[in-house]
């Protein structure tokens, strides 16, 4: 057991810091600090910078454009990214479908899709959920019927984050109704510009458009866009869900949130003092911080296990549960810190075209939407109830 970073790791950290400090565009950093939504072009701009440095996908194997770093270096990298308020990685390409393609895809698929995921040129979204298939994903009904070299896809997907700005969607579709539900599912990569695909916005409680309901009417998908075997899609999907859960654990992001919370609590006044001096509020921040630290150590332990060749299994569910609960706790404390200034809800304030003075403190406007949207974290990626079911079964043998 050893917690200290090696000299090599420390030097690496300095390198990453120097690089980010020199290359992160100031306008992007500013938006991130204020909690403004970062636009697609800005995210792409930053990803391109990382790509040119060879750092676009730290976790990918080197042969596909990854870095070949060990778990410690990847961890350090994430830490530094959070330290500098770099834009969040959009998970669908880099963290989800990318690893899926290099693990289960054929050479043609790897050559076609991996490069543009790395550069950020092509954006992906996830087409799993349906109106009737949420937690019970295997009951999905969107049909793909073979017709020569194509599948013809019909059905409805929902809750598709970013579908309105995505170039591609990775989809679970039903190719067979025989046997167990899980055994008739295939995994397709679908070009969002294909005729017959129609995403419709769903406005969420934060008032924003992240989500979509996507209708598929006679959408033709070349068979070569199927990952792996027909009717084996469930295996690939499950692989991916594991990745999703680990990425939702968000240690670095939550540290960033904790820093923001402390900054805000230091600015806010209560009884003539700074709110962070208030024993009750300070106690709550401390409690959240302790939870975050223990979550971080759980993460590190599991990463070390993985590095030692024991892949993370159902324990990923633990990371997902704690990570999302901590995120919700921090966003909730942040709106609490704002007192009455949680109330104003002028969406335009979040746009970079807003040039009037802020209502109340300038950090206020972004916090309520973040709090509201964070309520989804315990629902998506397999709800926390479902994660607890998984742990009960797989880890505890209940």
């Amino acid at each position: 057991m050893d917690l200290a970073f090696s000299d090599d790791d420390l030097a690496f950290r300095e390198d990453v810091r120097t690089f980010v400090a020199e290359n992160l565009p100031e306008d992007i950093a500013e938006s991130a600090r204020r909690g403004r939504p970062i636009s697609k072009p800005d995210i792409q701009r930053w990803q391109r910078i990382l790509y040119d440095q060879g750092w676009a996908a730290p976790a990918w194997p080197a042969e596909y454009g990854g870095t070949g770093w060990d778990a410690t270096k990847r961890y350090i990298f994430d830490e530094v990214m959070a330290e500098f308020d770099t834009p969040e990685t959009i998970p669908f390409g880099l963290l989800m479908v990318g690893p899926l393609i290099y693990t289960f895809g054929n050479d043609a698929q790897k050559a076609r899709f991996l490069p543009t995921i790395l550069t950020g040129e092509e954006w992906w979204c996830q087409g799993y959920s349906e109106p009737g298939a949420g937690s019970d994903l295997a009951s999905l009904q969107t049909k793909a019927v073979r017709d020569g070299d194509n599948y013809v896809v019909n059905g409805t997907k929902t809750w598709n984050s970013s579908a309105h700005i995505a170039d591609w969607v990775f989809c679970l579709v039903r190719t067979s109704n025989e046997g167990k539900q899980q055994e008739g599912i295939s995994f397709l990569l679908i070009d969002m510009t294909t005729p017959g695909i129609d995403p419709k916005p769903i406005i969420s409680i934060d008032g924003a458009h992240h989500l979509n309901m996507t209708y598929y009417t006679d959408v033709k998908v070349p068979v070569e866009n199927r990952i792996g075997e027909e009717n084996k899609g469930w295996t690939y999907a499950k692989f991916l869900l594991g990745h999703e859960r680990i990425s939702i654990s968000e240690v670095g992001l939550s540290k960033q949130r904790l820093r923001r919370l402390k900054t805000i609590a230091a600015e806010e006044r209560s009884h003539g003092e700074s709110l962070i001096e208030d024993p009750t509020f300070a106690g709550k921040i401390a409690a959240a911080e302790v939870r975050l630290i223990s979550h971080e150590y759980l993460n590190l332990r599991l990463l070390a296990e993985e590095a030692a060749g024991r892949p993370i299994g159902a324990e990923a569910s633990l990371l997902k549960i704690r990570g999302t609960e901590i995120r919700q706790e921090l966003t909730e404390l942040t709106i609490e810190a704002l007192g009455y200034y949680t109330a104003p809800f002028e969406m335009e304030q979040l746009s970079d075209r807003w040039n009037e003075p802020a209502i109340g403190p300038d950090y206020a406007a972004a916090q309520m939407p973040q709090f509201l949207f964070s309520r989804a974290a315990t629902i998506y990626g397999g709800s926390n109830e479902v994660q607890r079911n998984i742990i009960a079964k797989m880890v505890l043998g209940l």
């Binding site: 949420g134 406005i203 806010e268 006044r269 209560s270 003539g272 009455y340 200034y341 104003p344 309520r375």
Partner: protein
């Protein structure tokens, strides 16, 4: 001891329920929220006509003379409908101030108008540094001639844009957080020196930042005694808290009923979600929170008139703490148990959740009131 409603209260409840059913379909509310002023003048007129604006006001000034429990009955139904008309600011707070501190002249002129729906009031108390401390007032009122000149900034003043007069807390003496030296003024909304920045709030209401730069008012604008505003605010805010607790109970009941219904109809894994024991127990916990919140709501509305100021203040703070805790749990869990649907703007669940979240902030959140309770 008796926890039942009187016949009149039951009738009032029925009639508010009817109003909410007729006027407050989710779509209708959505339109109101998006409209220019953020609520409906027609609804306001109807409330006047039905006598609701007069409910808590004294009979000698055109009111009905109802008590806190009457208001509670009404507010609970308003909570069920997420009603957006400025009842809280105008009638409960504005009317409350006039009754508790108004001069004979102020009462005679203003209360009948309030009851008739011809006058609206708002209450400007919060400041950037004040957080939930009503007595943390830096806004200044200086004697000038017969009257006063007011200068300062007030934040998140609910329904200021549509108010005819704004009740402003300002310091006439003492240091920033002294209890003594705060005076309340009735300030005309359109007077010179007053500028507003109006905006919507997250729970579908309207509020404003109010800037006063040398606003001059006459001596007759003073509400209550000069320098004695703190006690007056405490009394009236106590009434407001009692009323908002009732609103919260209405919100929570809707969420509890809807979520229960949803779990029974939403099928996953081949069975209704209501068959999963974790969800059953979560629902039971929500139900218990609702029952506890309702108990405290009755308690505070029965005690808000208590002669013993400590007992009154303790009741108010205890209720606010309970409502904050219950509202948080019920609101968050309703979203959670609705899954993705709970996150949509389309469904009413999120709107109730947002209102409950903001109710915790109004007039001091649970931490504030827990501390106040401990200090009493």
């Amino acid at each position: 001891m008796d926890f039942s409603l009187s016949e009149e209260q039951q009738m009032l409840k029925d009639s508010v329920q009817r109003f909410v059913r007729d006027e407050y379909e989710l779509e209708a509310r959505r339109k109101l929220v998006a409209s220019d002023i953020g609520y409906s003048e027609a609804n306001w007129a109807k409330m006047a006509e039905l006598g609701w604006l007069a409910l808590s006001l004294p009979e000698e000034y055109g009111g009905i003379g109802g008590n806190a429990v009457d208001t509670m009955v009404l507010m609970e139904e308003f909570g069920r409908g997420l009603v957006v008309e400025p009842y809280m600011t105008s009638i409960i707070i504005g009317g409350g101030f006039l009754m508790a501190g108004g001069s004979a002249a102020q009462k005679t002129v203003l209360l009948p108008k309030l009851a008739a729906g011809e006058l609206k009031l708002a209450f400007a108390y919060a400041e950037r540094q004040s957080r939930f401390d009503l007595n943390d007032v830096e806004c200044k009122a200086e004697k000038s001639g017969d009257g006063y000149t007011i200068t300062g900034h007030k934040g998140v003043v609910f329904h200021a844009a549509t108010a005819d007069k704004i009740i402003v807390s300002a310091r006439t003496s003492g240091g920033s957080r002294d209890e003594d030296g705060i005076t309340l003024f009735l300030v005309d909304n359109n007077c010179s020196g007053l500028t507003r920045r109006d905006y919507p709030t997250v729970d579908g209401l309207r509020a404003s930042e109010v800037e006063m730069d040398g606003v001059t008012v006459g001596a007759d604008a003073v509400l209550g005694s000069v320098g004695g505003g703190a006690a007056l605010m405490e009394e009236v805010v106590g009434l407001a808290i009692a009323a908002i607790c009732a609103e919260a109970v209405g919100c929570m009941d809707v969420l509890q009923e809807t979520t229960n219904e949803y779990l029974k109809t939403r099928v996953q894994f081949g069975v209704p979600l209501s068959k999963f024991q974790v969800l059953q127990h979560r629902m039971v916990d929500m139900f218990m929170e609702c029952e506890q919140a309702r108990s405290m709501c009755y308690m505070v509305n029965l005690k808000v008139g208590d002669e013993d100021p400590v007992e009154r203040a303790k009741s108010v703070s205890a209720a606010k703490v309970q409502i904050g805790n219950s509202g948080r749990f019920v609101g968050q869990q309703s979203v959670q148990l609705h899954g993705g649907m709970g996150m949509t703007d389309e469904l009413h669940v999120g709107h109730y959740f947002k209102r409950l979240t903001m109710i915790d902030t109004m007039f001091g959140n649970k931490d504030h009131h827990l501390k106040r309770y401990a200090d009493l």
